[in-house]
């Protein structure tokens, strides 16, 4: 579903991502872990065609992001770590806008908006301007807008930040459902307990380089993911 091959991206002299390669298959929830500034957001933004990269390539369903970004974007949904949405629109106006851009039929969008907005507990607030939303509400709206075109691949940067426990639980359920239907999810998180329980596979990145990647059980080994991560960070120090 998503193949990252030798991805390298530098900001000036500093390499934010250095020769990263990963393969996310359909049906997988893939966690992406790393300290602040490790290169997680850069990788995610490169995958969805927002950031241009210097070397390597990224393929979504076999289509190169470099060569045909539009075709890739049609299959992807991206949720950033800090959802700066259009504050001058109401929630429903924003969702309709995204649905129009992705050419979602009126029936499908109506059904999806109703389902996800109710499940995430934001339905009653859809007529309110996004500017009046709390961080958590914006995050919920970003999640709904990402799901509105039923994407095959969901890229999420810290999706659980700001969500209340119920919404976080709902989102985990939705993520599993997408994967059960043949989709894939690649997301970054600092909440290691969530990654440990939710992810089929995990990759740890440090200083732009991949340190370890594989099945959650393999990466974790006999200890906890937290211990593995801390050991790796200490090694660097």
């Amino acid at each position: 579903m998503l193949r990252i091959e030798n991805l390298t991206k530098a900001y000036g002299d500093k390499k934010a991502v250095d020769g990263l390669s990963l393969h996310i298959k359909p049906g997988e929830i893939y966690g992406f872990i790393g300290h602040n500034g490790a290169g997680k957001t850069t990788t995610l933004k490169s995958c969805c065609g927002i950031l241009r990269f210097d070397e390597g390539d990224i393929f979504v369903d076999g289509v190169s992001v470099k060569k045909d970004p539009i075709a890739c974007k049609e299959k992807i949904a991206y949720i950033p770590d800090n959802p700066d949405l259009y504050e001058f629109l109401t929630g429903i106006q924003y969702l309709n806008f995204v649905a129009d851009v992705y050419k979602v039929s009126a029936e499908d969008r109506q059904a999806r908006i109703e389902r996800y907005a109710k499940e995430l507990g934001i339905y009653d607030d859809l007529a309110t301007k996004i500017g009046a939303y709390s961080h958590g509400m914006k995050q919920k709206l970003a999640v709904i807008s990402a799901l509105i075109h039923a994407p095959r691949l969901l890229l999420m940067d810290e999706p659980f930040v700001g969500l209340d426990p119920k919404a976080a639980h709902t989102l985990k359920g939705i993520m599993r459902e997408i994967c059960d239907q043949g989709g894939a999810i690649f997301f970054s998180t600092h909440v290691l307990e969530v990654a440990e329980k939710l992810c089929d596979k995990i990759a740890i990145i440090r200083g732009g380089k991949l340190v370890i990647a594989g099945d959650t059980e393999t990466v974790r080994g006999d200890t906890s993911l937290e211990n593995v991560f801390l050991e790796l960070v200490e090694e660097e120090a």
């Binding site: 065609g49 950031l51 241009r52 890739c72 800090n82 009046a132």
Partner: protein, 536 residues
Amino acid sequence: MIRTLISLRLKEMAHRFMSHTKAGGKGRKILIAVLLTYCVVVFLGMFGGIFYLVCEPFMHLGLNWLYFALAGLLSVTLCLIGSIFFTQSLIFEAKDNELLLSMPVKPSAILFSRIGTLYLLNLGYSAIINLPCIVVWILMNGFDLMLTLRCVAFMLLLPLLPSALSCVVGFVIALITSRMRNKNIVSLLLSGMSMAAYFYFCFNSQELLTRLLKNGGELAAVIQKVLPPLYALGSAAAEGDILQSLIWIACCVLPMALVYALLSRSFITIATMKRGAKRIKYKAQKTRKASVFAALTVKEMRRYSADAMYLLNGGMGVLLSMILAVVLLIKRDAIESIFGMFALTGVDFNQWTGALMCAALCMLAGMNMLSGASVSIEGEGLWLMQSLPLKAGEILLPKAAAHCVICLPAIILAGALSAFALSVNGITAAAMILLPCLVCIFISLFGVTLNLLFPRFDYASDLMAIKSGLSSGLTMLMGMGLVAIPVILYAFVFKASFDPGYLYAGCAAVLALGSFLLYYYLTHGAQKRFDALGQG
């Protein structure tokens, strides 16, 4: 503590003007400094001219006090216009109110620092009027140390009065808008009123001045009766009258003390007042599918009109063209007498009227620069546009389209009303409607293109983007140049030797070609540039 807080406010104000991207920061600072100096010099010169005109006649009438009272009146008015909206954001809607309240700082100290900053701002505004007032007086009457000291002291007190009034008005606006669903309406209304007052003053300044000089005595009696504080200021400054001096000091200090006492008692309530749009319960509606172009155009229109001040600044031409058309309908004689001046050249007056009105309408259509900051205002939300499965042209063209949808109806209406009011021939009438429309379309595309080439994503607000953005400024200049060049060529190079119908046709062809080239660039050549935005 108060000094630290005032210094923080001043730094914030400087940042608003001087905030810049890494590239070209120094050049931008110099440019802003030059522009500010230019504005100050122009205002000093303008008010110096007014004081020079009134000083001698007032002296002959024995109304020296009226000279200083007039300066006081102008100062208070300028301070009020300049600081009402600033007061709102400085005191009542400051983003750091809660941050400062969480620190061991007395609320009264926070308020004092904010009012202190307001006072300094108003001191700057009033200096633009008071400095030329004092300088002209000294030039006309010779240097008098006591009078100069009195003037300076009273002028230092003066900003307290408009500051207090601004606080009261700002408080009322904050109170009203905090309970309103659409507070843009109030901002738009107040801005419109301020602008109308400004234009009224500009258009009628000569007449007002003549009336002032003719009826100085009557005016003095009115001010003495209706505005005693100004009489007190005038008498205190000109004659050193002790009683009037005390009255003037009281007029400045007491309102401010009262406002400070009242606001400091309720500052925590004001600062923590719940703001933002009101929550409305959503009721399911049948959704309708729209095309990508329509969805993006509607989104851009909502964006442009989300901030009343953005709309007002970017759509100034629309407002002015409507005013021009209405004035033309009501006071056709006034316009004809202005255009009549051109008849002195020996050219047919009617021919000039149509051509000049057409040029004026085109100029006003070119003044709209809504699209000139349309890329910059994406700001932090740029990721959203770049993550959509759309080509650059599909994203950029709706920005120009929204500009046209907002501006074109008023431009067409203004053209039609003007053609009707002037009873011009068919060709001129068509030109008065079509040419401004073409200018509008060209400028809308030009604005997007320019902003794509010179964007900035670090503006504190949409308003700053359109007010201080390079591309929006250049877009407006282009709009003016578009009109000035053919007018100058026709009038001075070709000496109006051919029918203006050919001029209209030539201009239309150039505008259509230019629009097509810009359209082609946005749809075929802008992808690389768009992809490069926000790449760090």
